[in-house]
C-alpha cells in the first residue's frame, strides 16, 4: 500500500455572497495515495474546482470559509500558516487551473512565469531554469519552445496556454498534482502526449494526482479511482473498472449514458439527464439528486442519504442503489473502435 498523500475529511467550503452564505463544497471526503491518480468527475458547477482550490487554500480569503480537514501527509493544511502554505504550494502540491487564459499573468512572458516557479523551489541559476523551462515546454509539445518562452500569454493559442500551465505545474516535480481539466483545450494527440508525461512523472516520482475532468475517456485511461460529485457532495466513489462496469448512483449512470459516441448512428439524439441543477441557494433538503432522479421516492425527497461503502472501495450516496443495480445492464459504455 502506498502512503496516504492527501486525505480530505468532510471538507466544506462556504462562500459569502450578496445573497448570503452558500456552501459550494459540502462535506467532501476522499483520499489520494502517492502514485495514484484519482479522477473527479461531476456535473458542471458541482464544486470540483472549488474543492481543488480549497486544498491549496487559494480561494479569496475575505469571502471564503473552510471547514473540515485537509490532511497532507497527515498534517492539516487548514492549520498551516501562510508562509508554511507557501512552502507546500508549487513544491509539494502544484495545481493546473481550469482556466488557462486568465490564469497566466499577462504582463510576463510565459518563460518568466515558469522560471519563477522553478527558481522558487529549486536551487539553480537563472540560465539553468530557463533551459529547464524550455525543456518543459518541449515536453508538453509546444513547437519551437526556445522562441515561445519569450512570448506573452496573449500571443499563444488556448491550448498552448494550457500547456504552459501544465509545464509550470510539473516543473518542480510535485508530490501531488491537482489537475483541473488540464487537457480541455488540447487536441487528442497532444492530450495523449500530456497524459503520458503525467504518467511518467507518476511512475518516476511516485506522484499522486487528482485529475478533474469531464472527459470520461481520459478518466478511463489514466485514473485508478474515481470520485463522482454532485452539487457539492461526493455521491459515488469507486475504482475505475468498477465504476464503468457497475455504476451505482443514478447520476453516474446518467452521465455514462450521455457520452457521445465515435461510432454508430450519429444523428440519434444524445441522452440527457432531465431537469435542472438547483442553485446553491436552494439545495433540496433530502437527496440532492432527488428532483432529477427517476427512482426518487418520498424518502429521497425528505432524507439525505449518507455515503456508504457498498463493497470494498465502492462508496455510494443513494437510498435505492441496490434496486438500481438490478435494473442496470452492465457496461454503460460501448467499446468503440
Amino acid at each position: 500500500m502506498q502512503e496516504k498523500l492527501l486525505e480530505l475529511k468532510n471538507l466544506k467550503t462556504h462562500f459569502q455572497t450578496e445573497r448570503g452564505v452558500v456552501t459550494a463544497v459540502n462535506g467532501v471526503s476522499f483520499t489520494v495515495h502517492s502514485g495514484e491518480t484519482v479522477g473527479v468527475v461531476g456535473e458542471s458547477g458541482c464544486g470540483k474546482s472549488v474543492t481543488a482550490e480549497s486544498i491549496l487554500r487559494l480561494l479569496d480569503e475575505k469571502s471564503t470559509r473552510y471547514e473540515g480537514e485537509i490532511l497532507y501527509k497527515g498534517k492539516n493544511l487548514l492549520d498551516f500558516s501562510i508562509s508554511k502554505m507557501q512552502e507546500i504550494r508549487g513544491n509539494d502540491i502544484s495545481m493546473i487551473f481550469q482556466d488557462p487564459m486568465s490564469s497566466l499573468n499577462p504582463v510576463y512572458s510565459v518563460g518568466n512565469q515558469i522560471v519563477e516557479s522553478i527558481l522558487l523551489h529549486q536551487k539553480c541559476s537563472k540560465k539553468e531554469a530557463y533551459s529547464r523551462a524550455i525543456e518543459m515546454l518541449r515536453l508538453t509539445g509546444i513547437p519551437s519552445p526556445e522562441k515561445r518562452v519569450h512570448e506573452y500569454p496573449h500571443e499563444l493559442s488556448g491550448g498552448m496556454r494550457q500547456r504552459v500551465m501544465i509545464a509550470m505545474a510539473l516543473s518542480c516535480q510535485p508530490r501531488l498534482l491537482i489537475a483541473d481539466e488540464p487537457t480541455t483545450a488540447l487536441d487528442v494527440t497532444t492530450q495523449a502526449q500530456i497524459l503520458d508525461l503525467i504518467n511518467e512523472l507518476k511512475l518516476s516520482y511516485n506522484m499522486g494526482t487528482v485529475m478533474i475532468t469531464h472527459d470520461l475517456g481520459v478518466v478511463a485511461e489514466v485514473c485508478t479511482r474515481v470520485v463522482v460529485m454532485y452539487l457539492g457532495q461526493v455521491i459515488e466513489e469507486a475504482n475505475v473498472e468498477m465504476l464503468f462496469k457497475s455504476p451505482c448512483h443514478p447520476y453516474t449512470r446518467g452521465l455514462l449514458k450521455s457520452i457521445p459516441k465515435l461510432t454508430g448512428d450519429r444523428l440519434e439524439k444524445l441522452h440527457v439527464i432531465e431537469g435542472k441543477v438547483p442553485t446553491l441557494h436552494q439545495v433540496p433538503k433530502g437527496c440532492r439528486f432527488a428532483p432529477r432522479c427517476e427512482f426518487a421516492s418520498q424518502k429521497c425527497i425528505e432524507q439525505m442519504p449518507e455515503l456508504i461503502e457498498e463493497e470494498s472501495g465502492h462508496k455510494v450516496r443513494c437510498w435505492h442503489f441496490k434496486e438500481i443495480i438490478g435494473t442496470g445492464e452492465g457496461h454503460y459504455v460501448n467499446t468503440s473502435s
Binding site: Q16, D60, K62, T64, M101, G275
Partner: protein
C-alpha cells in the same frame, strides 16, 4: 418533468417579480453593507446641510469687521475665534463652504465628465488618440494662474469663471488617467466579444469600458476636488478667484497663513473643513468603487 405552458408562464412571472425585488434589495443591501459609501454619504450630507442651514444658525455676520476684536482665540463668544479683521471665523467658515464646495464639486464633476470622454475616446480610437492627447499636452503646459488671470480678465472675476479656468487646467489630468486605464481594458477579451456581437463603439466605450475606469477616475476626481479648493484660494489671492471679502475655505487658509504663528485657529478650522469634505468625498468614492466591484463580499458573521 416539463411544466405545462400555463404553469411555465406563471412561474416566469413569479420569478420575474422575485428577480426585480432581488435587484432592488441587492442594490440596497450592497449600499448599506458598504460602510464606506454610507459614512461618506453621511459626511457629505452633513457638510451640505452645514452649507445650507449653517448661515442661518451663526449669529455673527461673516462680513462684520471690528478691528478691536482681531484674532480672538476660540471661546464661548466666538466658537472658532475671530480673524485678522475681527470677523467671526465660524460664520466665515460656514459661508465659505458654499463657494469652496461649489467650486470643488463643479470642477471635479466637469473635469470628470470631459476627462472621461476624452480619455475613453482617445484610448479606443487610435486615430483620435494622437490629436486629443496632444491637445492635453498643450493644455497641461499652461499654468493655472495665467489661465485664470486671463479668463478673469476676459470674463470678469466670478465664481463660474474660476470653475472654467480650473476645469480647463485639470481636465487633461483626468483624461490621461482614464485613458491609461482604458488602454488596458480595451485589450480584454470581453471587449472583443462585444465587438463580435456588433456592439457600437459608443456602447463598448460607455457601458463596458467606462465602469472599469471608475476607480482611477474617482481617485483623480477627489484629488482634483481638494486641489481646486486650494487653487481657488491662490487665484483669489491674485484677484482671479472669487471676489474679495467673500469667504472661501481656501482664502481663509491663506489669511490664516499670514498669522500662522499667532492664530492657529485661522488655519486649523478651514483646514479641517476641507479635510472633512475631502474625506467624505473619498469615502463615497471608494464606496462607489466597491459598489461596482463584484468581489466585494466580506465574510460577515
Amino acid at each position: 418533468m416539463q411544466p405545462s405552458p400555463v404553469n411555465q408562464e406563471l412561474e416566469l412571472l413569479t420569478v420575474k417579480h422575485h428577480i426585480k425585488k432581488e435587484r432592488r434589495e441587492l442594490l440596497f443591501r450592497r449600499f448599506f453593507s458598504n460602510k464606506l459609501a454610507l459614512t461618506g454619504c453621511i459626511i457629505i450630507s452633513f457638510i451640505l446641510l452645514f452649507t445650507l442651514v449653517g448661515p442661518l444658525l451663526t449669529s455673527h455676520d461673516p462680513y462684520e469687521l471690528d478691528a478691536k476684536k482681531r484674532l480672538i482665540a476660540p471661546g464661548a463668544e466666538y466658537l472658532f475665534g475671530t480673524d485678522n479683521y475681527g470677523r467671526d471665523l465660524l460664520s466665515r467658515v460656514v459661508h465659505g463652504a458654499k463657494v469652496s464646495i461649489g467650486v470643488g464639486f463643479s470642477v471635479a464633476l466637469i473635469t470628470s465628465i470631459f476627462g472621461m470622454m476624452i480619455g475613453l475616446y482617445a484610448a479606443y480610437f487610435r486615430s483620435l488618440d494622437n490629436i486629443l492627447m496632444r491637445v492635453c499636452d498643450g493644455l497641461m503646459a499652461f499654468p493655472a494662474i495665467l489661465l485664470a488671470i486671463a479668463i478673469m480678465a476676459a470674463l470678469g472675476p466670478r465664481v463660474e469663471n474660476v470653475i472654467i479656468a480650473l476645469s480647463i487646467v485639470f481636465t487633461p489630468y483626468v483624461a490621461r488617467t482614464v485613458r491609461s486605464a482604458a488602454l488596458v481594458i480595451k485589450e480584454q477579451t470581453y471587449i472583443e466579444a462585444l465587438r463580435s456581437q456588433g456592439a457600437s463603439s459608443l456602447r463598448i466605450i460607455w457601458s463596458n469600458i467606462a465602469p472599469n475606469v471608475i476607480s482611477p477616475l474617482v481617485v483623480q476626481a477627489t484629488f482634483i476636488f481638494a486641489d481646486s479648493i486650494i487653487t481657488e484660494a491662490a487665484l483669489s489671492f491674485l484677484g482671479a478667484g472669487i471676489p474679495a471679502p467673500a469667504p472661501s475655505w481656501g482664502n481663509l487658509l491663506y489669511d490664516g497663513k499670514m498669522v500662522i504663528f499667532n492664530a492657529w485657529w485661522m488655519t486649523v478650522f478651514p483646514g479641517v473643513a476641507i479635510m472633512l469634505t475631502v474625506l467624505g468625498l473619498n469615502l463615497f468614492g471608494d464606496g462607489l468603487r466597491d459598489l461596482l466591484d463584484p468581489h466585494n463580499n466580506k465574510a460577515k458573521k
